[in-house]
């Protein structure tokens, strides 16, 4: 028990370190951009030197960098996320509006990744070195090679225009999420399919599986009791990593489908040079990714008794 507590504590400690480093790097963004952020805020033409000086003081931009970081991080922790340069709305409000659709999209895409990736990988492994294997793996490579913005447009053309199936852009509810979910999830599905195939092939060669076979156990029983159990467990870890790709992929997929969300917010604020929003959104996406992987690492030993917390 103490080993588990120890492990959890250490991982939480590592999470805090990563979070602090990520926040520092994100904080630096606004100081690395060429030009004066105050001028960006006020607009190139409108700003008089007096205005610039006043706002620089107000924002504390002439304080030492460490002091500025400290102020920023204290504000963040208290939920004061600053104000968007563009709309002057609190960044917190923008965030609140944007995260639910992104959460839905990521969940839908994760479902697609699993539904597409796992069965294909299992099929390829069980039929290894046959036409099935080759066909499945070609499909997987094409899946992970396709740019999501192209797949999205293809799906829009195919389903919404030709087949009059689903609402094209900005649909809501369960229907509106199907095409974006597929678009975002297929690439990960290809990655997962390849991973599952190789894992299962490894599992087939494990000793106890060979033993079970030589004992005369039938195919399906060996496959389900021994091979799949061993081969699929570690998929959980790669799914954790996939969350990162899915979260960052929302930037593209939300743009393709004109969906509101964190990705769309991020790209719009980059184009508008709205750096306070850029900083917060990048930080939020990164923390979401880090926390997910922490959870995966915590849960994984529960699923796989061979792994011991230490």
């Amino acid at each position: 028990m103490t080993a588990i507590a120890n492990y959890v504590l250490r991982r939480l400690g590592a999470l805090v370190v990563v979070a602090v480093i990520a926040s520092m790097l994100v904080f630096l963004i606004i100081h690395l951009i060429p030009g004066n952020p105050v001028v960006l805020m006020l607009g190139q033409n409108a700003a008089s030197q007096a205005d610039i000086n006043r706002l620089t003081d107000e924002l504390g931009l002439n304080l030492p960098l460490a002091t500025q970081y400290w102020r920023w991080i204290v504000d963040l922790v208290h939920g004061q996320l600053g104000f968007s340069y563009g709309s002057n709305l609190p960044v917190g409000t923008l965030l609140q509006q944007s995260y639910p659709p992104t959460l839905q999209l990521t969940a839908a895409a994760m479902a697609v990744t699993v539904i597409f990736g796992v069965p294909l990988g299992v099929l390829a492994a069980l039929k290894a070195n046959t036409v099935w294997d080759t066909a499945t793996m070609v499909l997987a490579v094409v899946g992970l090679s396709m740019p999501s913005f192209w797949l999205g447009l293809l799906l829009i053309t195919l389903f919404s225009v030709s087949l009059h199936f689903l609402p094209v852009f900005g649909g809501t509810g369960i229907v509106g999420i199907i095409l974006p979910g597929i678009t975002l999830g297929v690439g990960g599905g290809g990655v997962v399919a390849r991973f599952v195939r190789n894992n299962i092939l490894d599992a087939i060669h494990l000793q106890h599986v060979q033993t079970a076979k030589s004992k005369g156990l039938s195919g399906p029983s060996v496959v389900f009791r021994h091979v799949l159990r061993n081969g699929l467990l570690s998929v959980v870890t790669i799914l954790g990593l996939q969350v990162g790709y899915l979260l960052s992929g929302t930037v593209i997929v939300e743009t393709v489908f004109s969906r509101p969300g964190l990705g769309r917010l991020l790209i719009n604020s980059i184009l508008d040079k709205d750096y306070p929003t850029v900083q917060v959104v990048i930080l939020v996406l990164t923390l979401a990714y880090t926390v997910t992987n922490l959870i995966v690492d915590m849960v994984y030993p529960l699923l796989d008794p061979r792994i011991v917390y230490a």
Binding site: Y7, V18, I21, A22, L25, I29, P34, N129, T134, M137, A140, V141, V142, L144, S145, M146, P147, F149, W150, L153, L154, I156, T157, V161, V168, R194, N198, L201, D202, H205, S234, T237, V243, G244, Y245, L247, S248, G249, V251, I252, T255, V256, L266, I267, I270, L271, Y275, V278, I282, T286, Y289, T290, V296, D297, P301, D304, I307, V308, Y309, A310
Partner: protein, 299 residues
């Protein structure tokens, strides 16, 4: 099995070599190298010799044929201004492919440099350098490239720099790990003992060992890099119109997707083909250099 850091990482490290697969399987893998390499060469040549392959320029406007579908006159159709899409895809893939090459080159050079210095120096230098490189990996997927582009401002050059910098960890890690291994080999140690300078050891022993791994990583890296170049172009952060670039063309095509599917279809198909080709090539090269990894890493 006691674990130091992440359960998954340790499990991967303790992976046990499975029996070698059949010869047929290896031949199949070389087939994927040939196939991938062939398509790759074809696409690069087509981009290089664009002017010889089409009589249209990328910006030539045929005002009588706007938004016309694929035909004998315009193989890939025309866009909203009546520009020939076959020509635009050819010229566009020049920029996209060249950009992805340069980005990978930046990453390979800087990553190898970091990896070799870290591996050769060892100790604190190693620790600090690799931790600094790891900073990039805190941010998932395309985010580091996106953040760097946000800082530098939108342009193709900046996109290339951003993708190059954000891909450094892949190469730094591969090179550092191999350098550490090679350094402890008996004959390398005796070379050092007999007075060979670190530079000589790097040139004679480390680089040749590391080269094959870099080639494998770089060919897969080309796929990621071209996807990122096109993605940032699609998002409006790369090449600014009217210069043709595959990602930017897709973003134009998005506005006309209901009227003219071909505007976005062909640039996207070329990107997909290119990425499939470099991925197959990477798989094939990996098997060529390391037949033992066949089963584990192949696909």
């Amino acid at each position: 099995m006691a674990l130091e850091t992440s359960p998954a990482a340790t499990q991967a490290a303790e992976w046990v070599e499975p029996p070698r697969r059949s010869l047929i399987r290896r031949l199949v893998r070389y087939r994927s190298l040939m196939f991938g390499g062939g398509i790759f060469a074809l696409l690069v040549l087509a981009a290089a010799f664009a002017p010889l392959l089409t009589r249209y320029g990328p910006d030539t406007i045929d005002a009588l044929a706007t938004l016309s579908g694929p035909s004998a006159a315009h193989w890939f159709g025309t866009d909203q201004f009546g520009r020939d899409l076959f020509a635009r895809v050819l010229y566009g893939s020049r920029l996209t492919i060249a950009a992805s090459f340069v980005a990978v080159l930046i990453a390979v050079v800087l990553g190898s440099l970091v990896g070799i210095v870290a591996g050769m120096a060892g100790g604190y230098v190693d620790l600090v350098l690799m931790r600094v490189v790891d900073l990039i990996l805190i941010f998932p997927g395309i985010l580091p490239a996106l953040a760097i582009t946000a800082i530098l401002g939108p342009s193709l050059t900046n996109v290339v720099i951003a993708i190059g910098l954000s891909s450094i960890p892949v190469y730094a890690r591969v090179v550092q790990a191999t350098t550490l291994q090679v350094k402890t080999l008996n004959y390398v140690e005796s070379a050092r003992a007999s007075g060979a300078s670190p530079l000589r050891i790097v040139m004679r022993h480390v680089l040749p060992s590391v080269a094959s791994q870099i080639i494998v990583a770089a060919s897969t890296g080309l796929g990621v890099s071209v996807l990122y170049v096109a993605a940032l172009g699609f998002l409006g952060l790369g090449v600014q119109p009217p210069t043709p670039e595959l990602g930017t063309m897709l973003s134009d095509g998005r506005d006309y997707v209901l009227l003219a599917w071909w505007i976005s279809f062909f640039p996207g198909a070329v990107i997909t083909l290119y990425v499939v080709a470099v991925n197959l090539m990477g798989d094939g090269l990996r098997d060529l250099f390391d037949p033992h990894a066949l089963q584990r890493l192949g696909g």
